[in-house]
């Protein structure tokens, strides 16, 4: 009976109840939109890190990453690479020679990481081919061709065909300088990386580093993202002298962002719902004040205070939860639409977005796995909102209430 009364009570003032239900729906939609947007942004960022920057796993000589000294080449690198490529979970494994150096032109110089790559494999491993915005792919006929990022090109006033000099130390510690011609300019969704990384062929760099046909890094792309941890452990076990890192180790800021963004989005959701709670409290208080006499009569008849509290609680929960399916449905439809068509955030500034490693086209994802938490937040809001009106109702004395 209390449930029936609660449900019917919320329809006593239809307009007021509908307004509060719609506010809950809009608030929930806003919360879902934030969650979906963050989910899409984070997935896109992780995808970028894996597919275009670090791969799922990277292997190095265990001393290489301390100072990036070229002498710490991969021991038995080709054997290791061969064994990794034979693993069923591995989609692609490629090698890179790496050196830190100075890029100089007539107008200035900049510190860069020189990546000596196997072009055909690198095109897939870091999607270098897709990133090229000006110039051509590696041509075996053009030995000293270099690919540089757009940000660096702009800074150093370079374009396809421009000349530049790379200076670095070889494996013996001697300083080497080599002239290159810009073969292509690439642009990724991570400007800081574009500014720092340049690509030459591995063969070319190895000749200059005097490192023979060895290399410093193996990049591994897996068939399934879920296998990262398992494969990391397996490779560590299989190659104990090698440093095996996952994308989370290589790009800890991305991992941190993924972990914290969930908390941020929940905080935003809680703030939205808290703001709504005041609306719900106001509505319930009005309802209680309007029904003071009725509640007084119920108390006089012998309704105990637990039942009065339950009545107010159920009314608040119905009022709050009635808007929830609408908010979720609209959130689901909107997230679905933008997931298919993308949400272009270039208006916020492409450069700004890529400075943080994000693309401007975001594909929001409806946060299915967070629905439980969302419902919990909404229910918490209802419980919180009912307290003040319920206390008000419980404090009523039947005689005084009946007089009003």
């Amino acid at each position: 009976m209390i449930l029936i009364m609660a449900w019917r009570n919320i329809w006593r003032n239809k307009m007021r109840s509908i307004v509060i239900m719609l506010s809950v729906a809009v608030g929930l939609f806003a919360g879902i939109a934030v969650l979906a947007l963050y989910e899409g942004m984070m997935k896109s960022r992780v995808r970028n890190v894996i597919d275009a920057e670090a791969g799922h796993l990277q292997l190095h000589n265990s001393r290489f990453k301390k100072d990036y000294e070229p002498k710490y080449i991969f021991l038995n690198g080709h054997d290791v690479l061969k064994q990794i490529r034979s693993l069923p979970q591995v989609k692609l494994a490629t090698a890179r020679t790496i050196s830190s150096g100075m890029l100089s032109t007539a107008t200035g110089s900049a510190g860069v990481q020189i990546n000596g790559v196997i072009p055909e494999e690198e095109y897939e491993a870091s999607q270098l081919k897709k990133k090229i915005v000006e110039g051509k792919l590696f041509d075996p006929a053009r030995k000293n061709s270099i690919k540089i990022g757009k940000k660096l090109a702009r800074k150093m006033k370079l374009k396809a065909g421009s000349k530049l000099v790379l200076t670095f130390t070889d494996t013996s510690g001697s300083i080497v300088s080599a002239a290159y011609r810009v073969g292509a300019v690439y642009q990724s969704e991570n400007t800081p990386l574009d500014e720092r990384n340049v690509y030459v062929t591995m063969q070319n760099l190895n000749e200059l580093l005097l490192s023979g046909n060895s290399f410093h890094e193996i990049v591994v792309l897996l068939k399934r993202d879920e296998d990262v941890q398992l494969m990391q452990e397996q490779l560590k076990h299989q190659f104990p002298s090698v440093q095996v890192e996952s994308w989370k180790d290589i790009s800890p800021e991305t991992d941190f962002m993924v972990k914290t963004v969930d908390q941020y989005s929940y905080i935003i959701m809680v703030i939205i719902m808290l703001a709504l709670a005041f609306g719900i409290i106001n509505t319930m208080l009005m309802a209680i004040l309007e029904r003071t006499r009725e509640i007084g009569m119920m108390l006089a008849l012998g309704t105990n205070r637990i039942r009065i509290f339950t009545l107010v609680l159920m009314e608040t929960i119905f009022l709050t939860l009635a808007g929830t399916p609408i908010g979720l449905l609209v959130g689901w439809l909107a997230a679905g639409y933008f997931n298919r068509h993308g949400l272009d955030l270039s208006g916020m500034g492409k450069e700004m977005m890529s400075n943080f490693g994000f693309g401007t086209m975001i594909y929001p994802e409806f946060p299915v796995e967070k629905l439980g938490a969302v419902i919990l937040i909404v229910t918490g809001t209802a419980l919180l909102s009912c307290l003040f009106p319920a206390i008000k109702a419980l404090k009523l004395q039947p005689v005084e209430a009946l007089r009003r």
Binding site: M1, E294, M297, M298, L301, G302
Partner: protein
Amino acid sequence: MNCMKNAVIDAHNVSKVYNPETIPVYAVNNVHLHLERGEFTALVGPSGSGKTTLLNMIGGLDKPDEGNIFINGIDITKLSASQLIDFRLHNIGFVFQSFNLIPVLTAKENTEFIMLLQRLSKSERNARVKQLFHEIGMEDKLNSRPSQLSGGQQQRIAVARALASKPQFVLADEPTANLDSKSASNLLDIMAMLNKEEQITFLFSTHDQRVIDRARRVITLVDGKIESDTAHVDTNIAHEQSVQ
């Protein structure tokens, strides 16, 4: 303090005073009242004479500042707020001046409400509702909401609700004040019949001469004190005979 034998209501030296610290105003002043089972009593007096205050104290809705009120031998002035709620539920029926039905419940649900609080089974509730609606002559209005009923019909539902819990007595505060003469007469017939057939004690506070004429006992309150306490047997019997 011992209460009198067979008394449903036994009030001793009951006083209610407002502003005791500044200018004390006695709403009820040293009242002694004794009602036995089956009485049909009207509490009359001018406005402000303390009728409703006395009724509220007897109903356990308010506490006296002095004195004791025994209901079936239990001193209700000693009960806590939650004990009083439970006591009212099982012992006292209320009929209010402005009906006070729950607007979102149907006539049947309003009557059932109190039995649900008493945790009666569905079959018990249905049987009692059927009997009460037959007695008040409203079998066809079971599923009507209060807003679909006239004032007289609402007050009859309120009487059915008051009786649903099978109380020791019914307190009715100006039950006919908002009714036309036909509805008032109809309601009084029903209450007189229930009083006679189920031996339910009725105590009314009223200004209404129609109620006073039908009461078998009339207690007059003036300035919080009982001024007179008289029996009206003849009028009531005469009316019952005319109804028959």
